[in-house]
Amino acid sequence: MSDSYVIETNNLTKRYGENIVAVDGLNMRVRHGEVYGFLGPNGAGKTTTLRMLVGLIRPTSGQVKVLNEEPGAPEGLARIGAMIEAPAFYPFLSGRDNLRVLAKYAGVPETRIAPALKEVELSARSGDTFGTYSMGMKQRLGVAAALLKDPELLILDEPTNGLDPAGMAEMRDFIRNLGQGRRTVILSSHLMTEVEQICDRVGVIRNGSLVAEGTVDELRGRDRLRVKATPQAEARDLIMGLPGIERVEALNGHLHITADLDEAAAINRALVYGGITVSEIRVEQSTLEEVFLELTKGQEIRA
């Protein structure tokens, strides 16, 4: 295990009984100061992994170090703020009193409570009992609780769940700000736009295993050219014969061409001179969502 990572897992595995493998040999590396997006469809093993990182559940096998400590060790927990799955608080206590309880447990001064509530814009309702909060307010309180310790590592599991579009946008800005500077943020989500806009690097989990890890641009891959030309088969053959063309793929009535984008004019000219009608030619950028869907195709529904 290396000191250069905030989170490092080696073959991390969690089994339930003989047949259910929730996390399967996961190797994940999260670097200091980055906002790491942890992507995966429902049931892929995201929450199980996050629970193992904070020591709520024990791995069946494999190693994991968080902030160079064993998961669940008090020394590590003191430096981690976490909101795992739905935010859970005492329903009969106010938002402020719930934070007061956590501050006492975490050994942080109560003077941190008001700024944390202000940061998530919950000050006005902080005197109301948690049981009366909307889902969005509960999420905000969960984030405020995670911030109480001014943590080095912030683990947020689906933090925009239950928020309206305006609230989601606010939360995205908020998380982006949190991730600036020395703090490391790991954000689990299945909302691509959220991850695309916030995260420095992304890991994609499928059936309990990490199937891709890299920056958003790395995962999206190279931009391609998209051409609609008739007749398509002749156009495909003609383009394949041009210099600098790496790959041509016909899909849904379009040709998707991997080549230097500066070749667009040359391709257009060649097609027109070849008597082929060109009705569309443009640069195509894969979205993270397309990459995600491709990577997670065939995800099984798991317990």
Partner: protein
């Protein structure tokens, strides 16, 4: 650790169920230990000297109250123990607590310490209420006000707390094992009423059961209060809390109850530390 204990005391203090259980316990004590015996005495013609009248006077404060601890008080604080841990599973707050700084065993210790502190008013307040009732009755009836010795009261308070602590700890263990409240309360009440109650009642017919029943929580708790002046006859006719023996000596009772506390604490702590928090 002090901060963690303060947090838990704050939670228990703010929780309605703590006050409801305390209210039920105090009401039961006032009604069954004082109001009913006094009304019965008055209905039977009144006048000092009757057995029931003696029970409600200050001189009998310790014996009149302590007899309710081994079963009725126990059942109530069993629920308190169950709720203090079992509700955390229902609300999902265990995961919130376990991701704070202290670590599982310190959180467990803080919750137990807070529960122990909250048991103090369950013992103290009922003695205060009993003192007020007995004094008032003595004044109304013109009877002498003879309080038990301070040493006996201190022993009674300590024994009462100890008995309640064992029952509360049984509730804690059942809540942690069942990861909730409903099953834990059901099993706890069933155990105290059906298992311990029925087997104790059968010892008269089946003597083989006697060594087993002597190790029961109820027989040890009843034996402990007998050491402090509660008469065996007083507990033989108390509805679901009836107990007619076998009794053991005070030393053995203390040892058995102490062993129960240790076993319940170890099982609870080990389970809480080892088990995944998935909910």
């Amino acid at each position: 650790m002090i901060g963690s204990i303060a947090a838990e005391v704050f939670v228990l203090r703010k929780r309605a169920s703590t006050w409801i259980l305390l209210g039920i316990w105090i009401t039961m004590g006032a009604v069954f230990a004082y109001a009913f015996p006094y009304v019965t005495y008055r209905n039977n013609g009144g006048g000092p000297g009757g057995e029931q009248f003696a029970d409600v006077l200050p001189q009998s404060l310790v014996s009149n109250l302590l007899v309710g601890f081994p079963f009725f008080g126990g059942a109530i604080v069993l629920m308190l123990g169950v709720l203090s841990f079992g509700s955390e599973y229902g609300w999902g707050t265990l995961k919130t607590l376990f991701t704070q700084r202290p670590g599982r065993l310190r959180i467990f210790g803080a919750k137990l310490a807070a529960l122990g502190l909250v048991l103090a008013p369950f013992v103290g307040v009922i003695f205060v209420v009993g003192a007020i009732f007995s004094y008032t009755i003595a004044q109304v009836e013109g009877a002498a006000v003879d309080w038990p010795s301070a040493w006996l009261v201190i022993q009674a308070l300590a024994a009462g707390w100890f008995i309640l602590a064992v029952w509360a700890m049984l509730g804690v263990m059942l809540a942690i094992l069942s990861r909730g409240t409903a099953l834990a309360i059901g099993v706890g009440i069933l155990y105290s009423l059906a298992i311990e109650g029925l087997l104790s009642a059968l010892t008269g017919q089946i003597s083989l059961l006697e060594p087993l029943v002597e190790l029961f929580l109820r027989s040890s708790a009843y034996s402990l209060v007998v050491e402090l002046g509660v008469s065996g006859e007083a507990m033989a006719d108390r509805g679901p809390g009836s107990f007619s023996g076998p009794f053991v000596d005070g030393g053995q009772a203390l040892l058995v109850l102490g062993a129960y506390i240790i076993i319940f604490t170890l099982v609870s702590g080990f389970t809480l530390r080892q088990r995944d928090v998935a909910g």
